[in-house]
Subunit: 128 residues, 2 copies
């Protein structure tokens, strides 16, 4: 069966294989522990929705630091939101030296909630 595509023809978000020998991920829920309520709550915040969407659309196989997102918020606020995403099971974070890089757990989320990431990728930020 071919990968799922959304109604408007947007290509489905696909998972890339991870190279071995990476730093271990920070504490996160296992795939089967990821709960829909928690994921939806995490994604109901516009800033976190922006973060996940940007990761999905622009990340090109690399993890990214907080700074890469260009978010105009103090560091302590960003820590809060990245932690919320990780603890909900949406992102994985790894420590590279003094940087902490994030990527979306695409394979896990597609397995658990097929189609959800496509909705995030198609999302249009409010205002403007």
């Amino acid at each position: 069966m071919t990968p799922r595509t959304t109604e408007n023809g947007h290509p489905a978000i696909k998972a890339l294989p991870e190279p071995p020998d990476l730093p271990p991920p920070l504490p996160e829920p296992a795939v089967e522990e990821i709960r829909l309520e928690t994921v939806l709550a995490a994604l109901s915040d516009p800033l976190r929705l922006r973060i996940v969407r940007k990761l999905l659309l622009e990340s090109e196989q690399f993890d990214h630091t907080c700074g890469w997102f260009g978010l105009d918020r103090p560091k302590s606020s960003l820590t809060h939101h990245f932690k919320a995403l990780r603890e909900a099971g949406i992102t994985r974070q790894r420590q590279y030296g003094l940087e902490r890089r994030s990527h979306v757990r695409v394979a896990d989320l597609n397995a658990r909630f097929p189609g959800l990431l496509d909705l995030v990728a198609d999302w249009t930020p409010p205002g403007r």
Copy 2:
């Protein structure tokens, strides 16, 4: 019980046509006004997730009153949650005499966020 999974991965939750001459719906957002953040926030509450899921799986072409759901909460709490669902654009409510009946806006939600309702239908409530 209707099957919820299809061979092609398209939304399995189907919209039924509405008969004419119904009471007018209570105030609700238009399709294009429905926002993903708001919908996700509304669905991040386990009780509301239960309500929507039950409507999707057991509603058989009829609208339902608050009492039909068998929720062990005071009436004022139920009013709160049904209002939240309606104002998010997830459900439509109509006044039938002294009853206020709800159903999910399946067509609108499938058009706006394809696949989302399938995730709700497949959800497993916690603690079981």
